[in-house]
């Protein structure tokens, strides 16, 4: 089982180094990822001579509070991802919204495997500097160890 160990480093607005535990508290458990269209769809599109867009790379926040994995909606458009459903995203603070669902695969940089997320929800994540929220639909296949005092976490799939 491959294991990814990450200890965050960071800087304050003045460029000074901040302790790892502060960086982890501020940024959360983030990993670098590459996202592309789900592999079963990709194989069919390639067989039809349809060119696939280059994968999108960016940061993914591991979010144990999220039911489902999300992908930035602008990135989903650039990847020309087909929608396979529409879901209602609940909100306690305002009206629930309808969001598209896309099949994606996620490569976590540093882990020698790809993770399938066939029902990733499009959401406006780019403004937060994120490409993906990794939710419990993916985490059900993972082990996550969050070590706050050392500013590190481990993810295995």
């Amino acid at each position: 089982m491959p294991i990814l160990n990450i200890q965050l480093a960071g800087q304050d607005p003045s460029g000074n180094q901040i302790p790892a535990f502060v960086a982890l508290q501020q940024r959360g458990p983030v990993v670098q990822v590459s996202v592309s269209v789900e592999q079963n769809i990709a194989q069919q599109l390639l067989a039809q001579g349809i060119a696939l867009p280059a994968p999108e790379t960016g940061f993914a926040l591991i979010d144990t509070g999220a039911t489902s994995t999300c992908i930035d909606e602008a990135a989903a458009a650039r990847l020309r991802l087909p929608a396979i459903d529409v879901v209602t995203v609940a909100s306690a603070s305002h009206a629930s919204t309808q969001q598209n669902v896309h099949p994606i695969q996620i490569e976590v940089i540093g882990l020698p495997i790809t993770i399938s997320a066939p029902r990733a929800i499009a959401a406006p994540l780019a403004a937060q500097g994120l490409l993906v929220l990794i939710g419990r639909d993916v985490l059900q296949h993972c082990t996550l160890f969050y070590n706050g005092p050392t500013g590190s976490f481990s993810l295995s799939v």
């Binding site: 079963n40 769809i41 349809i50 999220a66 066939p118």
Partner: protein
């Protein structure tokens, strides 16, 4: 302008009970008012949909699975990158 997959979702809702009885637990692919088929896995359903419809959108649902609202509190409450001035601290050994 019609919402994405609106025709497919309405068609699914009209036939869900009938299909769930015939194909319990399987994944169906719907395009327009047409059922492409019922498949054993999500992967098979995605491949069949892409083989038939290319990069177009199509509906994939698991029969018998309740459509529940998704909860993403950090997103829906605007908590992403929330950076309190006084972060929580813990105590104890």
């Amino acid at each position: 302008m019609a919402a994405l997959l609106e025709v497919e979702r309405e068609f699914y809702a009209a036939h869900e009970a009938e299909w769930a009885s015939a194909h319990p637990g399987r994944f169906v692919v719907v395009k327009g008012e047409h059922l492409l088929g019922a498949f054993d896995s999500m992967e098979q359903a995605l491949a069949a949909g892409a083989a038939s419809f290319g990069a177009d959108s199509f509906l994939v649902r698991k029969l018998g699975e309740k459509q529940e609202a998704v909860n993403i509190p950090a997103l829906s409450l605007g908590l992403l990158r929330a950076n309190p001035q006084h972060p929580a601290s813990g105590s104890g050994s």
